[in-house]
Subunit: 402 residues, 2 copies
């Protein structure tokens, strides 16, 4: 009989996996995946870049690169982050195979079995599975409209003084799945709490570039930029939302002593991230094409969000409550009590629309009082139709629940 490790036994297949598998029918309207629409990728830009590469750059693209990343990309990215006010000189930058690998590496650097990690509740599913894969005990703290609930956080940290958490994992900009954008005040008030407990912060900023208006633009400044001198912060981000997830390129910007351990981990994981896509990403960034592309994406995602928000107002029962996001990919909706979201999911897949149920994002895998809609990869025409289907299913289930 095969004996698996304890850590792999702590990972579970999602029970709704088969159900979601059904949802890949070509006729189905999907609000499920957290990805850009295929039609939005900068294919022409990359074509132009690829075909302008000199032979030696192409050869470099085929070769192994240094573990921390393709040096020219590290330089371009440092410049980019420095322009945004990040302390790139006090920290070290590492390219990772998607930002999920950055999060996984940081989990490996800090977590021993039974260690506590604090997350938001809800939480990015990749974070949950990365932390669980190292047998962490997750404690989720509720989000409100302005960010993580500080009273709940303070209480928990006070209670857990004998077994302090290894770190806190937060996504202050356009949270996945909650869509929340932290207020400046909430970020400011968070600092003394983390300081008091000397709690390391892992800040995930996968969506910060995708703000929809000027007010949001001002608010997406990362904690890593604002509080570099006050807190110990490991910052992670990604090219997945501003170039393409298929490039599998993310990064971490972290204090040097943490970087040193992270590099050893990465060496044992995949030696280096794909040089092929790093060479292309570097030219995309260096040429200025990336900034132009992001500007376009902000407008497109905002239009999709507006369309979805409008359709929700039109087709969803009033009992469903939600906040309009100021950026990112997602709308997070709260159900009235007793409404069975699994029944809604089943009937909605039958009728041709799919989404993700809330407990997927609960660190404890229980709370099903919400669901997530992604507007990022669905053209506007389909959004309206899909929301109408979903609205019908919600209304029907609501009727049955009364």
């Amino acid at each position: 009989m095969i004996q698996f490790s304890k850590s792999v036994n702590s990972l579970r297949t999602s029970e709704i996996r088969d159900l979601m598998g059904l949802a890949t029918r070509p006729d189905i309207i999907s609000f499920a995946g957290g990805m850009p629409g295929n039609e939005l990728f900068p294919v022409e830009d990359i074509d132009e870049i690829y075909n302008s590469l000199p032979l030696d750059s192409k050869q470099t693209a085929f070769q192994y690169g240094p573990t921390p990343g393709y040096p020219p990309l590290l330089e371009s990215l440092k410049e980019y982050l420095q322009k945004k006010g990040m302390a790139v000189k006090k920290n070290k930058l590492m390219i990772t195979t998607g930002s999920l690998q950055a999060i996984n590496i940081l989990a490996k650097v800090f977590i021993d079995p039974e260690d506590v990690v604090v997350t938001e509740n809800p939480c990015f599913i990749g974070g949950i599975s990365a932390f669980k894969s190292y047998q962490a005990i997750l404690h989720g703290i509720d989000l409100d409209e302005n960010g993580i609930n500080l009273e709940l956080l303070k209480n928990f940290l006070r209670q857990s003084k004998s077994t302090p958490p290894k770190f806190i994992y937060l996504t202050p900009n356009f949270h996945n799945p909650a869509g929340t954008l932290y207020t400046e005040e909430r970020k400011k008030d968070l600092v003394p709490v983390l300081q008091e407990h000397e709690l390391l912060l892992v800040e995930d900023d996968a969506y910060g570039e995708l703000y929809f208006d000027d007010e949001a633009r001002k608010r997406v400044v990362p904690l890593k930029t604002l509080y570099e001198n006050d807190l110990s912060i490991c910052y992670t981000s990604t090219f997945s939302k501003i170039l393409g997830p298929g490039f599998r390129l993310g990064w971490m910007l972290v204090p040097p002593e943490i970087y040193q351990k992270a590099e050893l981990c990465k060496q044992s994981m995949d030696a280096c991230s794909p040089n092929f896509t790093q060479v292309l990403a570097n030219e995309f960034l260096r040429s200025g094409k990336m900034e132009l592309y992001i500007q376009k994406m902000r407008l497109i995602y905002k239009r999709r969000k507006d369309t979805m928000a409008g359709a929700i107002r039109k087709y969803f029962p009033e009992e469903i409550t939600w906040m309009e996001p100021k950026g990112g990919f997602y709308i997070w909706l709260k159900l009235p009590p007793k409404l069975d979201i699994m029944a809604v999911l089943k009937s909605s897949i039958e009728k041709g629309a799919v989404f993700v149920i809330g407990k997927t994002f609960d660190p404890e895998g229980k709370d099903n009082s919400h669901f997530r809609l992604a507007y990022s990869h669905t053209p506007e025409g389909k959004i309206e139709k899909g929301i109408q289907i979903l609205g019908d299913c919600l209304k029907e289930e609501l009727r049955l629940s009364k």
Copy 2:
């Protein structure tokens, strides 16, 4: 103070790292890295493939893919492996981010802290660091010219009945660093030993395609092909040596129950391997370009090996003993007693040639009685010159050691 995890503390920076860092001078002749020469990559083939891709394939290349791999690549690769006699239907195939990730995932699937893993001695350094990163205790069994020493293996397995090893990790084809190609007999004799102890085999076949003659071609048949019905075997391989390491694409072919756990691990590590390079690798394989390319590479690597072997005979002191490899990338050389290989490395880097010292490949990090020369990434003209430099340093150190 930052408290790191126990598992990350089990990883150490190589002490000769700084020394090897010096060896990136452009004038230096390197026999160090285990990679193809930059000038050998099939850049034109991939140019042609890239520019012939229809828009929707390119868009797919930019997008996330399924965790186990880009489905058309999985299909092409299955066909390719089936033609070579592998039982692809009884097993499951997964694309990984280099074969190092495949090895790392299998380590994660099986290893709890303090578990024993049996390796060859010497052993691929990536394997060593992957196993150590899960706090395995490594036990290396010496290789002889025909493969792993079965008497030593039997003794060890008999002694460790109370704490049986989790698996044995072997590279039967053109071993890195030893260059060894297992004989058919050694492979056959290994089977009852593994059966008796119900020992799972992780078979790393990164170099099997790169045989130099017909006799070697007949001998590279993997244990996974020969003994599928007799043993439990997890097979790993890679595109790194037959397309380009910068694509970061490897694979594992493993029994379904192991695959299921491996997929969960990969989900928590990087979600999927780069779709961008998977789309290209699929066309490379499907078009038949890959087989033509490998045929060319066999000839080129053989010529480089011949050149290096000739130069070693000409310039190295007779006290250095070695076996001529029948394929792969490496020559592994044994030093006479008391010769200080670190001193040779220092003077050789000064004079313009670099290689890797033996203890890098010792699972226990001690034995420095050998060194490794890679001929794979150095053109023939430079090989002769580099070996002459190294020969001078070896002779000088040998003189001092007497």
